[in-house]
């Protein structure tokens, strides 16, 4: 991969994508970088709003209602699932390439994949072949999701060594906010393109693909990396070494051998499992726990409010972590999450909608906060050099949680209802299980210590000296051996 990057670095048609061509000139404002990152994250955040296409896509043939040959919701649900699954694994597979190739190359590639995914899906809708959409949005678009998600992380951390949590929080907030734009935009576009004989999904995919391509390309051209020895004006790295913030770097695949990586993996998996399970069921859960009090329209409002807190929590908690520390932030998530999940069944039995809503808004803010704070946690543990690639490997926890969370909520609810538990109490067991998950997360967080020095990378200069010394020793040994032979 390094060879490939070096070969590509020599210039040529895509030379403008090189890391070396993105090094900022003196005087470049670091505040230009968060908008570049947001250009990418606001676009790929559309994934959260894909469900707006589900209903129209069940009527592509029947138009007003589903025809026998039309696709059904479970079949369509796989498009999102494949996309999120591929997100995790492409981030893990391409993480090192993203890190070594630089942010512009990664953003450019993500833009092509993401927009390409939409255009391929438009063909899938046009020829009415679901496999083409699985391939387009799920596989190709999923690669765009994974590469795009991690592409600006290490760059932002390098530009904001004084506020890494806030910087990555801003970008990852964009991923939460992308759905706010995509959802009304998709609905509006479909209404413009729909006719009496046509639903307008394919045209909407094409327009959105083009818009996302342009938007993400702007991000790719705006992004800059700081010069190697750059630091913010007036910033002096802390003189006293902090136990849980390393100054050394850990090589991407060595990070996998550390217990710290797997502890953070468990923490993220737990936090996401707890959040993702209720996101999908929030509307139904609020109506079933408060029958007659929460209408379908009010439940939709609740879901909207949750999305806002999901987005705001990303910025709020990640920024807070710069002041209270990453480990303490996750302690807050785990302890508060435990008590809030335990309190949810009580809010149901008390019939307090306000308390129920408050519990879930805080929980969902911490769900977003967990995503946004984790890159800075990784940077504290493993240094900045491979943080993007290590973050990519960690995203597999999200893929796993995407399966665990909904399964826990949906299947336990079904089991309870079929065993005679009233619908209003059908979620109680799940809530206690979620609270139990936070105990596991708490223990994993408690176990985190500084990474052992044996995993630290030897700095380049030191490495060069060691190599030169070893080469010198080898030469002397060979000369001595020759003398002995003579």
């Amino acid at each position: 991969m390094t060879t490939m990057v070096q070969a590509q670095s020599s210039g040529g048609l895509f030379g403008f994508l090189d890391r070396s061509r993105t090094i900022a000139k003196p005087g470049f404002s670091r505040w230009m970088v968060p908008p570049a990152a947001l250009c990418v994250h606001l676009c790929i955040g559309q994934a959260y709003a894909f469900s707006v296409f589900n209903l129209p896509m069940t009527k592509l043939i029947g138009i007003t209602q589903s025809a026998p040959n039309d696709w059904n919701i479970p079949e369509l649900g796989w498009i999102f699932s494949v996309g999120i699954f591929v997100l995790g694994f492409s981030a893990a597979i391409f993480g090192r390439w993203v890190e070594e190739g630089g942010p512009r190359r990664a953003m450019f590639t993500a833009a092509l994949c993401w927009a390409g995914g939409f255009l391929i899906s438009a063909i899938g809708v046009y020829v009415h072949n679901l496999w083409v959409i699985y391939f387009g949005y799920g596989l190709v678009g999923g690669c765009g999701l994974g590469i795009g998600y991690i592409s600006p992380v290490s760059t932002l951390i390098k530009w904001f060594p004084d506020r890494p949590g806030m910087a990555t929080g801003m970008a990852i907030m964009g991923f939460g906010g992308g759905a706010f734009i995509a959802s009304p935009l998709s609905v509006w576009l479909m209404s413009r393109f729909s006719t009496a004989t046509h639903v307008g999904v394919a045209e909407t995919f094409i327009v959105m693909g083009v818009i996302y391509l342009v938007f993400m390309m702007v991000g790719a051209f705006l992004v800059r990396v700081p010069a190697p020895d750059w630091k913010p004006e007036g910033y002096t790295p802390p003189v006293v070494e902090q136990k849980l913030i390393t100054r050394s770097d850990v090589y991407v695949y060595d990070a996998l051998r550390t217990p710290q990586f797997w502890c953070i993996w468990i923490i993220l998996c737990v936090n996401v499992t707890a959040g993702i399970g209720v996101i999908g069921q929030a509307s139904a859960m609020s109506q079933e726990m408060f029958p007659g009090k929460v209408t379908a329209i009010a439940a939709a409002g609740f879901v909207g409010l949750m999305s806002l807190f999901n987005m705001a929590g990303r910025f709020f908690w990640a920024s807070t972590s710069d002041y209270i520390g990453r480990k303490n932030t996750y302690f807050v998530f785990m302890v508060l999450g435990f008590f809030l999940y335990c309190a949810v069944p009580t809010t149901g039995s008390l019939g307090s909608v306000a308390a129920f809503v408050l519990c879930f808004l805080v929980i969902i803010s911490m769900y977003g906060g967990g995503f946004a704070t984790v890159p800075a946690y990784l940077r504290d543990m493993f240094g900045t050099r491979y943080v993007g690639a290590i973050h990519g490997l960690l995203i597999t926890a999200w893929s796993m949680a995407g399966i665990f969370g909904p399964v826990l909520v949906n299947y336990i609810r079904e089991y309870n209802i079929t065993h005679g538990v009233p619908k209003a109490q059908a979620y109680n067991v799940t809530m206690y299980i979620m609270a139990g998950l936070f105990v596991i997360g708490f223990v994993a967080n408690l176990l985190i210590r500084a990474v052992d020095k044996r995993f630290h990378m030897v700095p380049d200069r030191e490495k060069a000296l060691v190599t030169a010394a070893a080469a010198g020793r080898e030469r002397t040994d060979r000369q001595a051996a020759r003398r002995e032979v003579r």
């Binding site: 003196p26 470049f28 404002s29 964009g174 759905a179 706010f180 004006e233 009010a298 409002g301 909207g304």
Partner: protein, 41 residues
């Protein structure tokens, strides 16, 4: 090396860049808040 002039990037470029992402995001947030208000009706 510290940056010689942190404000070397013209202010209009910063405004343009933030506006480019901020305006669509603000529009989306406003739409979502309008929908979320239904919870309190």
């Amino acid at each position: 090396m510290t940056s010689a002039n942190q404000n070397g990037t013209p202010a209009w470029q910063l405004v343009l860049a933030w506006g480019f992402v901020g305006v669509p995001l603000a529009w989306g947030v406003a739409q979502t808040i309008a929908n979320a208000m239904k919870l309190f009706q």
